[in-house]
């Protein structure tokens, strides 16, 4: 995250008026950051936190099926008797793994393709961008759906499927950045100095092109979580007995109308709150990096 926010002074304290400093003064942003930190901590510590770690991993406990929230199972149990909280905690692992996996792989692909296209221009740019446009032509969820359908449902394939439909956005964004940075005097100066191309791209252009990409990536984490939940909801994501919130909503769906709301209800709330936190962070980071201090 620190790479995003270049608002530190040399001594490592936030620069007054800088991005970090302004972020710290934003209550919404801080609230969202604490929610995300909370999710990450409970996901990492899941086996330690819950006494039902086995159930969280998928072991059924049939005698206790569909128990309403009570003192042992605070959020009740699901249709095969697993503790809902344990399932939620392990589901957080899946969700965060998918979100960070998709976004980081997509950013890497996007940087390579976008920077190449933007820096070299001409036919290289034309070719790479036409291909990118074709991927962008699919409505967001749809390409992921057909890729996931042909690869078969699993958590790993979910990451691949969403990545396939996600990288073009970064490629386009980075290309636009590189196109404008390419004409900057400091890049021209480096070229005039005889700095080799790969160093101009790597040392002078990409470090300066990344800020908006990180902003976008932060905001995208929320969107990826929603898409992943959607995929597993229609049976294209994580397979039972794996823990996944979208899957929990699907499994709990038929019981909702019968009054057993806690399975789908809590999983949906878990998705919404995490997505909300990521979206808020994205918003705040965008605001903090795009406005100037003292305005």
């Amino acid at each position: 995250m620190t790479a995003v926010l270049s608002g530190f002074t040399r001594r490592g304290t936030p620069h007054p008026g800088g991005t970090v400093w302004r972020f710290r003064r934003n209550k919404l942003g801080l609230a969202a950051l604490s929610i995300i930190t909370f999710y990450i901590v409970v996901a990492v510590l899941a086996p330690v936190i819950t006494p039902f770690a086995d159930q969280g991993r998928g072991t059924p406990d049939l005698p206790n099926r569909l128990m309403a929230p009570n003192s042992t199972n605070w959020l009740g149990t699901d249709d095969v008797g697993r503790d809902v909280i344990a399932r939620l905690l392990f589901g957080a692992r899946t969700a965060l793994l998918i979100a960070f996996g998709v976004v980081s792989v997509s950013v890497v692909i996007g940087v390579v393709i976008g920077a190449t296209a933007g820096y070299f221009g001409r036919w290289i740019d034309e070719t790479l961008m036409r291909i990118t446009d074709m991927f962008l032509a699919f409505p967001p969820l749809l390409l992921a759906v057909i890729v996931a359908a042909s690869l078969g449902p699993s958590t790993r394939n979910t990451i691949i499927a969403i990545t396939v439909s996600w990288w073009p956005w970064y490629a386009r964004q980075i290309r636009a950045q590189v196109l404008s940075l390419r004409e900057r005097p400091y890049v021209k100066a480096a070229q005039a100095l005889g700095v080799p191309n790969h160093r101009v791209i790597g040392q002078h252009i990409i470090p300066n092109a990344m800020t908006p990409v990180w902003v976008q990536a932060t905001a995208d984490l929320g969107a990826v979580i929603l898409v992943a939940a959607g995929l597993s909801f229609v049976g294209l994501g994580t397979r039972p007995p794996g823990a996944d919130w979208g899957l929990m909503i699907e499994e709990g769906r038929s019981f909702v109308l019968a009054g057993q709301w806690w399975i789908a209800g809590s999983a949906g709330a878990a998705v919404t709150i995490l997505a909300l936190a990521f979206n808020l962070i994205g918003d705040v980071v965008h605001e903090v990096t795009s406005t100037k201090a003292g305005d």
Partner: protein, 333 residues
């Protein structure tokens, strides 16, 4: 080359690319399509027969060419599951989805644009903050979960709206357009219109949530940019009333980028259709896809995705042309 022609040709190229990508993805299928088609109890010889019938043993390039040929004749292939031509099913079900998507897009625009303008005009005040929170929530709720919640409260508990479906079983009328809202109005029976509206209410609301949040946020941010431009300041300074500055002068500038969003909005409605229709048992192309996914009916999955994408490309083309009309600078770039 005139802008219009150039834009049209790019769209054709993009559609060819989309077809190619779906074709390639469909060939990634780890399982044997011929075996799937022949069914679980087929003997190897039968599978082999199917393979030849479907030309699945031909070289990949040949398959690609014949696939293109079939598509150009409007042949989308045959469903593994129903053995019916996919095109018939798609034509049958498409209006139902389009009706949902268009109404959801319309709803999100009608509410989202004024909300965004208002938020921008009162930047950083309390009402702006709460509007933003609301908008962010809209883009953070999984649509299928929101659908379940609505079903639980407004159908199951309160009984205000029907739980699922497009029409009650005892209501029917002529369907010349396939859009039931229009058809019911044409049938000149208020009770028909009422029945259609009651069924549309929940799916449309759910599908509009995400685009509504998106529209509000984007209109807000582009309005803020436009209002900071010297020309907005100059207009205010010249004593042009605030309403005119906001809704006439600034909004037209802010709408140009928002048109791109209209395309995205529509795309999100269409893709969320496939989650929402599954929950509401809506007989559209979305639920057609969902059931195909469950049956691993690959021709239907790829054909369905293809049709939706082509519609999306066409919508984007139309929006770009509209954009060029609003913003006189576009045709030059």
């Amino acid at each position: 080359m005139p802008y219009l022609v150039r834009r049209f040709l790019t769209s054709l190229l993009v559609i060819l690319g989309v077809i190619t990508i779906t074709f390639v993805v469909a060939r990634l299928v780890p399982s044997d399509p011929a075996a799937l088609y022949a069914g679980p109890r087929a003997r190897p010889a039968q599978v082999e027969q199917v393979r030849q019938d479907l030309k699945l043993d031909a070289p990949i390039v040949e398959q690609y060419v014949s696939y293109l040929g079939e598509l150009s004749r409007g042949d989308l292939g045959i469903s593994f599951a129903t053995r019916q031509p996919i095109l018939d099913d798609v034509v049958d079900r498409f209006p139902a989805t389009l009706e949902l998507a268009l109404l959801a897009t319309l709803l999100s625009m009608v509410i989202g644009i004024p909300l965004g303008v208002r938020a921008a005009a009162r930047q950083n005040k309390a009402s702006d903050t709460s509007l933003r929170l609301l908008a962010v929530t809209g883009v953070s709720i999984p649509v299928f979960w929101a659908a379940l919640l609505l079903q639980l409260f407004f159908a199951s508990r309160l009984g205000w709206f029907p739980l699922s479906g497009r029409l009650p079983s005892d209501v029917s009328f002529n369907e010349p357009t396939g859009f039931f809202l229009i058809d019911s109005i044409l049938s000149a029976s208020p009770s028909n219109v009422w029945a259609v509206l009651r069924h549309l209410a929940m799916p449309v609301t759910v599908m509009a949530l995400f685009p509504l949040g998106l529209t509000t946020r984007l209109i807000r941010s582009s309005m803020i940019d436009v209002l900071a431009e010297p020309y907005s300041e100059a207009a205010r300074l010249a004593g042009v009333p605030e309403r005119t500055v906001l809704y006439r002068l600034a909004l037209k500038n802010a709408l140009a980028p928002a048109l791109t969003i209209l395309g995205l909005t529509f795309a999100f409605s269409v893709s969320s259709a496939f989650l929402v229709e599954a929950v509401f048992g809506w007989p559209g192309i979305g639920s057609y896809l969902t059931s195909a996914i469950q049956r691993l009916d690959f021709p239907v999955i790829t054909a369905g995705a293809l049709v939706i994408t082509v519609v999306y490309v066409v919508v984007n083309l139309l929006l770009d042309l509209l954009h060029a009309k609003i913003d006189p600078r576009v045709q030059l770039s």
